[in-house]
Symmetry: C2
Subunit: 138 residues, 2 copies
Amino acid sequence: MEQSLIILKKNGLSVTGGRKKILDLFLDAQGALAHSDIEKNTSVSFDRVTVYRTLQTFTDNGIIHQIPTTDNTILYALCKDKCEAGHHHDEHVHFICVDCDKTICMDEVTVPDVKLPKGFNPIQTAMIVKGICNDCRN
Amino acid sequence: MEQSLIILKKNGLSVTGGRKKILDLFLDAQGALAHSDIEKNTSVSFDRVTVYRTLQTFTDNGIIHQIPTTDNTILYALCKDKCEAGHHHDEHVHFICVDCDKTICMDEVTVPDVKLPKGFNPIQTAMIVKGICNDCRN
DNA sequence: GTAACTGCAAAATATTTGCATCCTT
DNA sequence: AAGGATGCAAATATTTTGCAGTTAC
């Protein structure tokens, strides 16, 4: 069975053309996607609003997660197995290439612990590295 | 001389009521400020557009910097001495309290180095920790 | 058949731009 | 006086909401 179908069913979501299409985009994507990336994609032909709602649904169900960025955009990327509905675990490093502008989730790189000042209790940590990615370094 | 005046002059910016007011807000603020925080502030009585332009000017001049967030908001905070016009150095940890929602720049906590996969060349690193801050932990 | 999803229209919000006027230097 | 900053109006862009029609299960 197709990967996207498996994911949708596992999360108890009804399978629709839009959801499958958007999920496939994420499965195919090298890195993270912005709302506008999805909307601009030529193979996407449904309503703006549906994109918003689908991204929201996927986020609520722990299928994708939002990636912090230094500009005003929101990026989304597939969650890994550890994510569950309503409880994301994305303690990995996000790499943003300043050349090709792609955002890559480095699942294999775990975020190091930091020592915070007394009284501060960490719950979740995110880390963003900007630089030149493997494809652009020549 | 007032701190805000010093900063504006040092950056060769003309001193206007709006710039001084906004800069004072940052100097007084515990943590970071969003555009909306500034606009909602009762002592701010100038145009929305001026706020946008002032934040942009301050960012361009290395007076404030944008803080990445996991939602769709942009936060701004004062830069430290290391920042220069057009070249930000904000390699410190940003702490977001999930209770009071305040964002605090932890200048004293430096971002640890991470080992990236081969071929990835880091230029700048940002780190966001969510948790309970010192004021909210009771 | 029913609940959930989608499209459309429209409202609400956020951001940008142009231009005339006013203020800082 | 000159250049830059501001306010206002308006254009653009983004996100949210309501509702009616359609689809998945």
